[in-house]
Symmetry: C2
Subunit: 199 residues, 2 copies
């Protein structure tokens, strides 16, 4: 550390951001100090407000400043269908598709014993209670098609067996606009396995 | 924008940082909200303090929260020698070399008419006044060896001619540990031109 105390503190604090090392932190600090004080003040204020005000939705566990998020609080949504995703950004992605009218359950992670993330951390018991209380008919598993995502989907499926609820997994295959030639073998295997009769 | 208002505001505010686009801003916001609230609070606080407290050193124009920076306030430094650099980070780099005991003058930029940065913006008149008042003997120009940096050095040299002060430019040549084979032609040309008789 080499600048005046307030600047050193700022550079140090900026390093809590993911992907920001000492050089980028320094660049960010000087940019704000020399060219964008207003942006710096605004960032400080919005950071404070968000850190203070944002909690988890009591129903779907996503991040929100209300007790219930906008989707859970919307009575026009289909509350008998729950889509299970890993992160709040997955909710946004699915909402942008415009195809889904049900509600969500956000795991805020995926099963990963090596990182100490077990069923309790991803709120599986919370999901089971909700399914029983709200007479849910279908649970759509939309975890990512990675090793941990698949393991998480598998674990949740096993837990749901006794509840008599329909459990489905979103389709994995060749993405629209993708060319077979450039799609990886795992995806192709999934695409073949998940083929549907059309005629 | 797609999250709850406080999160949207935070993502938006994070984009004032250089090199941070919508996706990185989102990743940063979720990282802080899910995993590092304490870091987020600390960043908000240090941002606020720095934006409020940091000003320019009245003597060398570098960023500091005191009226004079630590180097200008240090009476043990040689105040008859001024090294002119473009940015506060250049001061730190030169200090780390451990070779320099004089003071600095930080331009906080370089001449760049296309960006509207002229002599007034880089404080040339302030430098001239300081040289006259403090009986400075030598001015070392350490602007970067880029087109703008060279033009800035050239302009300052012309301004200093009438003051009877020694003006020098730091040496440009092959860096230590560098191999001739991999050094660019401009640097080699400088290295040849700046050769010194050793025997």
């Amino acid at each position: 550390m080499a600048y005046s105390p307030l600047i050193d503190q700022l550079v140090d604090a900026l390093r809590c951001l993911p992907g920001v090392g000492p050089k980028s932190a320094q660049r960010m600090a000087f940019h704000l100090l020399e060219r964008d004080r207003e942006g710096g003040f605004k960032l400080a204020q919005h950071l404070e407000q968000a850190m203070q005000g944002v909690n988890r939705c009591e129903q779907c566990r996503t991040l929100t400043e209300q007790p219930k998020c906008a989707i859970c609080a919307n009575t026009k949504r289909d509350h008998e269908t729950i889509c299970v995703v890993e992160a709040p950004s997955d909710v946004v992605a699915l909402e942008q598709s415009g195809q889904y009218r049900g509600t969500y359950f956000v795991l805020m992670g995926k099963l990963s014993p090596i990182d100490g993330i077990g069923p309790e951390e991803i709120g599986v018991s919370h999901l089971l209670t909700r399914i029983q209380q709200q007479q849910v008919k279908e649970v759509i598993l939309a975890t990512n098609p990675t090793v941990e995502g698949e393991a998480t989907a598998y674990y949740i499926t096993a837990q749901l067996k006794a509840l008599g609820v329909t459990v489905s997994r979103i389709a994995h295959g060749v993405p629209l606009g993708g060319e077979l030639e450039f799609v990886d073998v795992g995806t192709l295997a999934h695409a073949l396995e998940g083929r549907q009769v059309i005629a």
